[in-house]
């Protein structure tokens, strides 16, 4: 299967020094990859390269470049505070020139997929943190992307909400199976979510190691108590510790 996106020997230099690389990452259609690493290791930079929001200083990025084929969810819900949930979700379609009625129809369906069909008219300030994040997910999914990029989307939420959202993301993934790249600080979250956990070194970020999580997706909550989960989490932690010690 040909990859859906690929970073080849990419390096990103900022005025204060190198942020990333050289770094390689190949994404197959439908796989979920978690990027784990210490703060400032260039995880978010790698994600922005995949999104096309930034260009590498050296190396090449290959990605599906069509409108709406790549979606991003940021650490904050990043909703327009003046617009209702349905207007926020309809935005990508309307920007692409879709008629308002059709866009709103699809937006309502996307909000139903994240279990927010009761909050179509609510504005972001009226939503809880978890609900706002689900609106953000709905907006990312409304264009039916082939690549979904999640930049620490649950970092600001409490543990219970994080777990519920992780399961929601799996449920959404199983409907249209986009490739997902998921940036996180949290090893357990990475192992639960991903089929492959990529560990990066402290900045400039490079590949420190990779752990395959050998269990089918989507995973039930009980997966967190299995041996596969524990072994993968331990392996990832060891790689991460080694990466921190080497830096």
């Amino acid at each position: 299967m040909s990859p859906i996106a690929e970073l080849s020997a990419v390096e990103v230099d900022y005025p204060r020094g190198r942020a990333l690389g050289p770094f390689d990452l190949t994404l197959s259609p439908g796989e979920i990859v978690a990027l784990v690493g210490p703060s400032g290791c260039g995880k978010s930079t790698a994600l922005r390269l995949l999104a096309g929001l930034e260009q590498p200083t050296r190396g090449t990025v290959r990605r599906a470049s069509g409108r709406g084929e790549t979606s991003v969810v940021f650490q904050a819900p990043t909703l327009m505070p003046w617009a209702s949930a349905i207007d926020n979700v309809a935005l990508p379609l309307e920007l692409a020139g879709e008629a308002k009625a059709a866009a709103r129809h699809k937006a309502a369906a996307a909000l139903a997929r994240v279990k927010l069909d009761g909050a179509l008219a609510a504005k972001p300030a009226q939503l809880s943190g978890g609900m706002a994040m689900r609106v953000s997910l709905a907006r990312a999914l409304v264009t039916n992307p082939r690549l979904l990029l999640l930049d620490e989307p649950f970092a600001a939420l409490d543990e219970i909400t994080r777990r519920a959202l992780a399961e929601d993301v799996h449920a959404l993934w199983s409907q249209s199976r986009p490739a997902i790249v998921f940036v996180t600080h949290n090893v357990e979250e990475a192992v639960f979510m991903a089929s492959r956990v990529v560990v990066m070194t402290r900045g400039p970020g490079r590949l420190a190691g990779e752990t395959a999580v050998d269990a089918p997706l989507p995973r039930p909550p009980g997966f967190r108590t299995t041996a596969v989960f524990r072994n993968a989490a331990e392996a990832t932690s060891r790689t991460l510790d080694a990466a921190m010690a080497a830096a």
Binding site: A76, M80, P81, A96, A125
Partner: protein, 255 residues
Amino acid sequence: MSRLRSILAPWILAALLLAIWEASCRIFAVPSYLLPAPSAVAVAVAQNLPLLASSAWNTLAVAIIAWVCASLTASSIALAVSVNQLAEDAVRPLAVVLQVTPVVAIAPLVNIWVGLEHPERGVILLAVVVAFFPIFSGALTGLKAADPDLERLFDLYGANRLQRLLRLRLPSAVPQILEGHKVAAGLAIVGTVVAEFVAGSGGAQGLGWRITEASHRLQTARMLAALFVLAAMALTLYALLQRAEQIILRRWRGR
């Protein structure tokens, strides 16, 4: 209870200060051309009420016209400048110069330029100059302060410049635009009164002229009466705009 107390506190303080003022004037027999007692000011307000009311209306009407003109020019210039960094770099320092130049200092010039036979035009123009900056600055800051992640999303979804302006930057700027207009309304009144001082009796006779006139005649109580009406008018305007701002913002962010 604490809410009631916090509402009452400023009124009680004001009443206390007025009482001290009144008592001092009586006890020390202060001459009324120097400092009339509050009761004398109240009498002056009552006696001159029709004149003060029509003067207040003249000042208010000019200030509102100036405020609207300032809003139209400042908002459109801010909008035009917000889409072009070079234009902003060129315009912003000039706007600051306009803001820091004392209106009193340019008033005589403006009166010459608009023609000495049209002092009312000079008054409006000066009030526009004073009210311009907060609207311009608020609108421009607001237009450029959209959430950077939302800007990235608009990049990602391939928004064109018009879509970005209408769907992201203008709505983002609403709070700052409202704030700028609120501040500018107060300044429009200040600008009007100052311009009236300079324009003299030739223009529409507003509260600024009433103060000048009373001061020339050493009628201090009438000066204070005009000042009181001016303060009451400015305060009412500010309160109305504050309320309007709250209502609009509540609708804007949904709570």
